[in-house]
Amino acid sequence: MTTGNPASLSETWSKVEELLKRRDPEKEPYKSRYEALKLLRDARKALEGNEGETEAKARAALDHRIGLTKISVEERGEGEEVLLGCLDAMREREDDFVHQLQEAWNALGIVCFERDLTSRALEYLKLAEDVYQRRPGDASQNHFCLTLFYLAQAYSNLGEAELGAKYCALTLDSQLRAGTYATHDWAQNAVQLAGFYLDKARFATAHNLLQAAGEVLQRGAGHQEDSTPAGGSEGDVPANVSLGWAKLGLRVLVAAKEWKLGGGREEERGDHEEVEEEVQPELRFETLALRQSPHLGRSALFLDFEAARECFNEAMRRFNEALDHYKLDGWVTEHFQISMEVSALYKALTVFERDPHRICVMHRKRAKKIELISEDLNPKYFPSIHKSTLLELADVYREIMDVKARCGRPDGKVFRAGRESARRYRAFLEAIDGEEGGGGAESLEEDDLLYYIKARFELGRILHKLQGCSPEGAEARKGYLAESLGHLQWIEDFTGKHDVEGFEQERALCVEMKDLLQQKFALMSAS
C-alpha cells in the first residue's frame, strides 16, 4: 500500500491550488475542479488506515478541501457531509486549523442559507465568528470579513434589521482594519448605512457614519483602488456624501417639526428622536479617529424659528452641493429626487414660521424648483417623475391657498392659488386616466390608488372653495360646484365597488360631504 509520503502530498496540494485557480471554458465550467477533486480523493485514499498524527492532520486538511470543492461544483449535499465529517478532527487541532475552520463554517452557513435554513446558517456563521474572536491573531481577517458579511445577510433575512445593520457596520469596520476596501465603495456603503440610522432618528450614529465616509474619501486609495466606482461617474460618491449630510439635516428638521406639531412638550422629545449617550462599538470606526458627534448625549430637536433656520441653511447648503453634481441635464432622476427633498425641507420650515406671507414665500420656492424641472420634462420618457411633479405642485399651491384663506387674504389671491392647484390635480388625474391600454384608477396598485383618490378629493375640495371665492360669474361658480360634486361622487362609487383598505372613515365622510354639496348645489340652482 502506498503511503502518502509528504513529498508527493505537497505536490498534490500545489497542483490542486493551481487547478482551482484556473478559469474553465463556458461549456465545461467545472473541468479543473473535477480534476482537482480526483487528485484530492486519490491522496485521501492513500492515507486510509494510517493512525499517525501527521496522517490524521493531512486527512482532515484533504477532507476540508474536498468538501469545499464539492460544494463549489454544486454537489452541496455530499460536500456538506464531507465537511461535517472532518470538523471534529479540525477542532481538536484548532491551532493548525483556524483558517480552515473559518472557511468551513462559512461554507456550511452558505449551504444552509441557500436551502432557506437561515437559522441553521446563523449557527454555523456564529461559530466562524467565535473562532476569530477567540484567536484574532491566528485567524484570517479576510475569512472573518466574509463571516461578518454573511451574518449581516442572515440576520437581515430573518427580519432582524438592527442586527443586519450592525453586521454591515462590522463588515465595514473589518474592511477598514484590514485595509481591504475600495475607497468609493466603502464611502458609498457608509453613506447608505447612515440612512438606516436616520430612519431610526439615531442622529449621532448617522453623523458618525457620514463623517467616516468623508474621512475615507479624503484619505484616498484603499487596498483596492477604484477612482470611479463600477458603473458610476466621477464625483458621484462625494456628491452622495453631501446628500447624506443634507438628509441628516432634513430628518432633524422634520423630527423637530413633528415634535412641535404634536405639542412640543418636553416629555415627548423622546418620541421623535433617539438620543444616544454613546455610539455603538461597531459604528465607531476607531481606525479613523473621528470627531465626536454634536448629537451625542443631547437632543437635536428645537422649537424656535432661529434654530430651525440654522438647521435649514446647513441642509440647504449640502443639497446644493449635491445638486451641483447631479445637474438636471445628465441626471434628471437624481436631480428630481433631490429637488423633492429640498421641497420637503422648505415645507418643514414653514411650520416654524409665523408670518403667513413668509410661509407663502417658502411654498413658492418649493413650486419654483419643481416647475423648473417639469417645464421641459418629456412625460413620454419620464412618466413617473411627470406625475410626481404634478402632485407636488398641486399640493404646494393647495397649501398656499389654505394659508391665504386662513389669514383672510383677498378672494382673488385665494382663488389664483386654488386655480393653480386645481390645474395640477386635473393634469395628474388625466395622466393616469389617459394611459395607453386602459389606465385609470383600475390599473393602479393599492398604495398608488390612495394618491389618486386623494387627488380626486382635494380637487373636489378646492373646486368647492373656488366656487366661494371666484371673481367669475354665477355660471362659472356653479360649474365648479358641479365638477366638485362629480369627483366626490366618483369616490363614493369607486370605493363602493372596490375594497380600499383603510379608507372606511374617509369614505363615510366623503359621502356625507357629497350629500351636503348636493344640497348646496340645489340651493344655488334654485336662486
Binding site: 454591515c168 465603495d185 463600477a230 418620541d271 418629456n378 394611459e435
Partner: protein, 478 residues
C-alpha cells in the same frame, strides 16, 4: 359601507404598468432522452399555467404552480411565438411608441434559439430576425407620404458597466448612462448606424456579436453573465399637408434585450463577480451595497446608487406608455429543476416591475381632518343659507346649533391617530406612562380640534352672512 362588497383590485396585466410574461419550455434533448430523463414540467397552454414538480421530493408532494400571460410548450413554432408575443410590440414601435422584448433563461434552455434562432432558415429564425423582416417589410409597403429612417445600436451591460458593442475598442471603453429631460435616458457616445435594409441590420448584429465574444476572451469575462440590448430606432416622418409640406414626426424605439441567466457560478466569491439573480445569498463583498440598500427603506429615501443600469436604460418601458414583454425560457428535465424554479420566480417578479412615482405627502395626511372641517363648514353654511330669510336671530341659533363640538367619533379618531403615531415610534403603549401620554396627547388634540372648529365656524358665519345678505338682496330684488 358593507365590507367584502367589492373585490380588491387585481393587478391587471393589461395595464401599461406591468410587464407581460411569456414562458417557453424547450423539448427534452436527445441526450436527455437517452439518459432517461423525465420531464418535471407540466404546461397548460389554455390557462397559461406551468406546474413543476420537485424531483427530490415525494411523488405525492404537490407541484408548484405559476401562472403567466402565455405559456408555450415544445410544440410551438417560432413564427407563432413571434406573431403572438413580439409582433404587436414591433407594430407599435412603427407607430412611434417604445417597446421592449426581454429574453431570459439559462444557457441550454433555448434562449438563443428564441431570440435569434437560425438566421438563415425562415422556419427556425427567432424573434430578432423576424423583427428585422417585419420592420422593413412594413416600411416597404407603407404609403408614399411616409418616410422612414432606421437606426441600430448594440450595447452590453456587464457588472454594471456599459459597453458599446459597435465601437472599435468596445472591450475597453466604459460608457456613461445619462438622462436628458427631453429624450430620456441615453448612453453617451453610443454608436448607432443607419440601416436601410435587412441585410444591413443583420450585419450590425453580426458585428456586435463578434465584439461581444472578443470582449469575453480579452477581458476574461463570462458573456453569459452580461445583458445585451439591441436597439432599433424607427423615425417616421409623415406628410400631413401636401401643399405646405408640413410633416409630423414620430419616433419609436424597439429594445431587444438578452438578459443574463443565473448561470452556474464559481463559489469562491472572487470580487467583481455579479451576484446570482435568484440566489439568496451574495457571496462577494462587492454586493455589500446591495445588502445595505435592502435594509434602508424608510423615510430617508435612497442615496443614488450604481443602480441597475438595465432598469435605468429601460425605465420608460417599465411603468410607462410602452409595451413590454418578457419571454422566459426553461428546460423540462428533472435536473433543470433548480434553474427552472429560479427562472420562473424571476419571471414572476418581472410581472411587478414598475417605476414608483415619488411623492412627498402621505395620502392619508390630514385627509380626515380636512373632510371633517369641510363638512362642518358646509353644514354651517347650509343652515345659515336656509335661515337667511329669518334674519339674525335664526342666524345665531344656527350658530349655536353648529357650535364647535368635537364629536365622540372625532375623539375616537384622534385617539387612534395618536396611538398609531406612538406605535410608529416604537412605543409600547402598555406601560402606564405611555397610557398617560396617550391620554394627555389625545386630550390636547381634541381641544385644538375644537378651537379650530370654532374659528372655522366664525369665518363661516361671516361668509354665510355675506352670502345670505346677497341672497336676500337678490330675493328682494326679484
Amino acid at each position: 359601507m358593507a365590507k367584502g362588497k367589492g373585490k380588491k383590485l387585481p393587478a391587471s396585466s393589461n395595464s401599461p404598468e406591468c410587464v407581460k410574461v411569456v414562458v417557453r419550455c424547450r423539448p427534452l434533448s436527445k441526450g436527455e432522452m437517452s439518459d432517461g430523463k423525465k420531464s418535471t414540467v407540466n404546461i397548460d397552454t389554455k390557462r397559461g399555467q406551468i406546474a413543476i414538480k420537485n424531483p427530490k421530493l415525494d411523488e405525492k408532494e404537490p407541484a408548484k404552480q405559476f401562472t403567466f400571460d402565455i405559456v408555450y410548450n415544445w410544440n410551438t413554432e417560432q413564427i407563432t411565438l413571434y406573431q403572438e408575443t413580439a409582433s404587436p410590440i414591433v407594430d407599435s414601435c412603427l407607430e412611434g411608441y417604445n417597446g421592449t422584448i426581454f429574453c431570459y433563461g439559462q444557457t441550454g434552455t433555448g434562449k438563443t434559439f428564441t431570440m435569434e434562432g437560425d438566421l438563415s432558415d425562415d422556419k427556425t429564425k427567432g424573434i430578432i430576425p423576424n423583427a428585422f423582416d417585419h420592420v422593413f417589410r412594413a416600411i416597404e409597403t407603407s404609403q408614399d407620404d411616409k418616410k422612414f429612417l432606421v437606426r441600430a445600436s448594440f450595447l452590453e451591460i456587464y457588472n454594471e458597466e456599459v459597453r458599446d458593442l459597435l465601437s472599435k475598442n468596445s472591450a475597453n471603453t466604459k460608457l456613461e448612462l445619462k438622462e436628458n429631460v427631453d429624450t430620456g435616458v441615453y448612453v453617451k457616445n453610443l454608436t448607432s448606424f443607419v440601416v436601410k435594409g435587412v441585410s444591413e441590420i443583420r450585419n450590425v448584429l453580426a458585428v456586435g456579436k463578434k465584439n461581444r465574444t472578443v470582449g469575453t476572451t480579452l477581458m476574461n469575462r463570462d458573456s453569459s453573465r452580461s445583458h445585451s440590448i439591441f436597439t432599433i430606432v424607427i423615425e417616421c416622418s409623415e406628410t400631413v399637408n401636401q401643399e405646405s409640406g408640413d410633416s409630423k414626426i414620430r419616433v419609436g424605439k424597439l429594445n431587444l434585450v438578452d438578459l443574463a441567466g443565473s448561470e452556474r457560478q464559481s463559489k469562491t466569491g472572487a470580487t467583481g463577480e455579479r451576484l446570482k439573480e435568484a440566489t439568496k445569498i451574495n457571496l462577494s463583498l462587492s454586493a455589500l451595497g446591495n445588502v445595505i440598500s435592502a435594509l434602508v427603506d424608510g423615510r430617508s429615501g435612497h442615496i443614488p446608487y450604481r443602480d441597475s443600469k438595465l432598469t435605468r436604460l429601460l425605465q420608460d418601458s417599465l411603468g410607462g406608455n410602452t409595451k413590454t414583454v418578457m419571454v422566459a425560457n426553461i428546460g423540462p428535465a428533472d435536473y433543470n429543476y433548480d434553474e427552472t424554479m429560479s427562472t420562473l420566480r424571476y419571471a414572476n417578479r418581472a410581472k411587478n416591475i414598475k417605476n414608483k412615482p415619488r411623492i412627498n405627502e402621505d395620502p392619508k395626511d390630514a385627509m380626515l381632518r380636512e373632510f371633517q372641517s369641510e363638512i362642518a363648514r358646509l353644514k354651517a353654511q347650509l343652515q345659515n343659507a336656509a335661515g337667511s330669510g329669518a334674519g339674525e336671530a335664526a342666524g345665531s341659533s344656527a350658530r349655536a346649533a353648529a357650535a364647535a363640538e368635537v364629536t365622540e367619533d372625532d375623539k375616537e379618531q384622534i385617539r387612534r391617530e395618536v396611538e398609531e403615531e406612538m406605535r410608529g415610534k416604537g412605543d409600547n403603549l402598555l406601560t402606564p406612562e405611555s397610557k398617560r401620554k396617550l391620554e394627555a396627547e389625545s386630550e390636547e388634540r381634541c381641544r385644538e380640534a375644537a378651537r379650530n372648529l370654532m374659528q372655522e365656524q366664525e369665518k363661516l358665519r361671516r361668509e354665510a352672512e355675506y352670502h345670505g345678505r346677497g341672497e336676500r338682496a337678490r330675493a328682494e330684488g326679484g
